[in-house]
């Protein structure tokens, strides 16, 4: 049976990982390449790199980081941040990305999803949606969660999947950073309306939160988190072992030789 994926997310600015990171045995804690290798060895099933750079120089450093990571880390790599055109897809795919996630770029121009899927295939196009509760409903937010688009989230996500998004990352603004567990209500509503893989993001604070996610929502395919992995609050190998012990299909690393 297909396994549930565990995905660490790295925010990269000017070629360096941002957010404090605290690992023993890691020479350069802000090196995305070293951190990617560390996570891959620990059993991460996939990695997400978010480019939070604004400058052209930062963008060049980001693609350089991507190229160096892809030469050493042989698990799927998803890239997001600053993806506004089909040319942006091209730029990161050439440097070793396997999938590209779109967020604000798709909100500005929803046809981006369709054009990218036609050119590279749906398996390459990941919709990332930042969602929060407003007036009792779910709304999509743009610009890193700062701007309420006024659009209803579930129909936005469904529409993007119809236009060709092959996976959906659902980031709950309400639970993000609170560390009290994933937003099961929101995720359940998304699982009801799409038949592509759903990746849960926002709210993980403990191993138990991942177990709860996969036990309560069988339609969720993967759990994504950043700081709890970066700070070592959750160790990926221990999380995977606990998932397997609790009967959740997980990919366990064979012992390194």
């Amino acid at each position: 049976m297909i396994t549930k994926r565990i995905i660490p997310c790295l925010d990269v600015k000017d070629g360096r990982v941002v957010k404090g990171i605290n690992f023993k045995g890691l020479g350069d804690v802000a090196s995305p390449v070293e951190l990617a290798e560390y996570y891959s060895d620990a059993g991460a099933d996939e990695l997400v790199f978010y480019d939070i750079t604004a400058s052209a120089e930062g963008r060049r450093l980001f693609t350089d980081v991507l190229t160096r990571t892809a030469s050493k880390v042989f698990i799927p790599l998803t890239v997001g941040g600053g993806i506004n055109t089909v040319e942006d897809f091209d730029r990161v795919l050439k440097c070793g990305a396997d999938k590209v996630s779109v967020n604000s770029g798709a909100i500005r121009d929803p046809s981006l999803v369709e054009r990218a899927a036609a050119r590279y295939g749906s398996q390459c196009v990941v919709l990332s949606a930042d969602v929060a509760r407003v007036d009792g409903g779910f709304r999509v937010f743009a610009r890193g969660g700062r701007e309420d688009t006024g659009m209803e989230a579930i129909s936005w996500i469904r529409g993007c999947v119809e236009r060709g998004a092959g996976e959906v990352v659902v980031n709950s603004i309400d639970t993000d950073g609170v560390k009290r567990g994933f937003d099961l209500e929101l995720l359940g509503a998304v699982c009801e309306c799409v038949n592509v893989p759903v990746i849960a993001s926002g709210g993980a604070g403990s191993v138990e939160h991942f177990i709860e996610l996969f036990e309560k929502l069988p339609g969720v395919d993967a759990g994504l988190a950043a700081s709890v992995f970066h700070f070592g609050e959750i160790k990926i190998n221990e999380l995977k072992a606990e998932m397997a012990a609790r009967g959740i299909p997980a990919r366990l690393q064979s012992a390194k030789e």
Binding site: R5, D45, S71, F74, G96, R251, K256
Partner: protein
């Protein structure tokens, strides 16, 4: 030297990196002579079967691959590249493949007993169930997970079947008949398990692993 056949479909960067990583010299090429002269050949591919088969025919590269394979040169098809080794596919009408292996390609969802609630494409890490006696999988164990992304699968390939994976029904995951091999999954994206499969194909010692 391993020739990675470049016929204009798919991203060959990671595949090329993974071969360098295991110490195998790799060349991405669309030159028939280079393909025929290589020690071994990898046929990659993503996208639609009909488009890819058409490109292999129009460029003459399909014939070069067939010629090298018939001369006994090791050949590995990956993902769509594996599907192209078979006789034909039923993806959007009937399209002829290279015919190097017996079998054909059908939608995963058309397999008898397939649970229609499961997602298509079949995306993610799934464990292998291995048939004995296949050199391609000599470093691989039952239960090792590999990374899949596909909506179609090979059937009628009992004579070459090397591994299956369970997605409510068994799906062909790897094949090998003499020098002709294929992986439905992406060995270049399957961590150490995938690198070991590439090592087995390239005749590399597993001890040469960098860690």
């Amino acid at each position: 030297m391993t020739a990675i056949v470049d016929y204009g479909v798919g991203n060959l960067f990671s595949l090329s990196c993974s071969l360098s990583y295991i110490g195998e010299e790799a060349k991405i090429t669309g030159d028939r002579r280079e393909i025929i002269a290589a020690d071994r050949i990898i046929l990659p591919g993503v996208g639609a079967f009909g488009d890819a088969a058409g490109k292999l025919t129009s460029t003459g590269l399909g014939e070069a691959v067939r010629e090298a394979a018939r001369a006994g040169k090791p050949l590995l098809g990956i993902c769509l590249g594996m599907q192209l080794l078979f006789e034909y596919s039923e993806e959007f009408g009937r399209h002829e493949g290279l015919g190097l292996l017996r079998g054909h390609v059908v939608p995963v969802s058309s397999r008898p007993g397939f649970d229609a609630r499961l997602k298509i494409p079949h995306i993610g890490w799934n464990p292998l169930i291995i048939m004995p006696g296949k050199p391609l999988l000599k470093y691989t164990s039952d239960g090792d997970c590999v990374y899949f992304v596909h909506s179609y699968c090979a059937v009628g390939c009992d004579e070459s079947l090397a591994a299956v994976t369970e997605y409510s029904v068994p799906l062909t995951a790897a094949v090998q008949k003499d020098n002709i091999c294929g992986c439905q999954f992406h060995p270049e994206k399957s961590g150490n398990t995938g690198l070991d499969i590439l090592r087995a194909f390239c005749g590399k010692d597993r001890g040469a692993r960098q860690c």
